[in-house]
Symmetry: C2
Subunit: 202 residues, 2 copies
């Protein structure tokens, strides 16, 4: 049985919830008490020494990192639909997995932590990172409906939550109309599930 | 012909140089004048709108992001050696690609930019990120020679440069003996090539 260690307000967990739902995979959800510090206590650190959610287990396999979990679920249960095996295709997608892990996490993701959750974060620096990456995404989406391969892939799911949640970090999506249209496209996918704050009115 | 847009002092470029060498792939290297700002001018931004090195082209394919380039070269030219196709295996490796893209880039990578190149960086914050991720890596390497799959993979190459270069950002590797041993193991791989500052004396 697949088990997801989950925090409902986490965009990184939301990526995984989306793919689990879109693939129609039965799973158990274990709520992690992030605000109570459960993720920094020994039991959880045994699952993920980084002390971060999500964590996914499937039989003997334990995975940390939302991108890696998307890679696993997409390859293991999605055939070539969500993550193809071709070298060039998987590399095109991997570009956005890095963007999700770095610029989107440390841009709109960090701005949201500072503004909406009052956690320690250099909000102006994060907002600057956010603006730069959103401008690149908006340009990239000129003439494209999806980030790569002309169809939804794990690249889109990896990037979606912290882009869509950007306004919670006082990062407006108004300057990025193609990004806004792409956000709505993700939210219209079969199997899409909401999270607190998403989808928001455009 | 494979073409690498390269900066010799860049750890992200070094990852790619390592795999090109270890795979014995002929390629052309194009030096990018980072200190002259070439990566922020239109010609280069046409290759990578993020304005970052490395970029790799192979025929019609243009890839940004060092992790994505390792994924491509490993799958395209390395069989199952450097990046296997099995879902669980590729996901185990993907965990470390995210770590390389985020914590290692923004930890020891950013500390080095601030200390060694006097570029804008919050050095104490970067050193703190570095210490946290190096402690996790050191624990993970207890009983392991390589990050995943009991053999060298793109996970090791993705993580190696900014770990090995950490002392240039005044991040000591002395508290992490297993990390130091792993660094030396990477440097002993057939096809290893040095870069300015690497390998350093232990």
């Amino acid at each position: 049985m697949i088990k997801l260690y989950d925090v409902d307000l986490s965009g990184n967990c939301h990526k995984v919830r989306l793919l689990l739902s879109m693939l129609g995979l039965e799973h158990e959800t274990v709520a992690v008490d992030l605000f109570g510090g459960e993720h920094k206590r020994p039991a959880f650190l045994g699952l993920n020494p980084m002390g971060q959610v999500p964590v996914l287990t499937d039989g003997d396999l334990t995975l940390r990192d939302s991108q890696a979990i998307l890679v696993y679920l997409g390859r293991r249960y999605g055939g070539d639909t969500w993550l193809p095996g071709d070298a060039a295709d998987v590399a095109r997608i991997a570009q956005w997995l890095s963007t999700a892990a770095n610029e989107l996490q440390n841009g709109p993701g960090a701005a949201r932590l500072g503004v909406a959750f009052d956690l320690p974060a250099d909000v102006p620096a994060a907002q600057e990172v956010a603006a730069a990456v959103l401008a690149v995404m908006d340009g990239h989406l000129d003439g494209r409906d999806w980030l790569e391969l002309d169809r939804p892939t794990v690249a889109d799911l990896a990037c979606y939550p912290y882009v869509a949640l950007a306004p919670e970090g006082e990062v407006s999506l108004e300057p990025y109309p193609r990004v806004q249209a792409w956000v709505r496209r993700v939210e219209a996918l079969p199997g899409y599930v909401p999270m607190p704050g998403l989808p928001r009115e455009g």
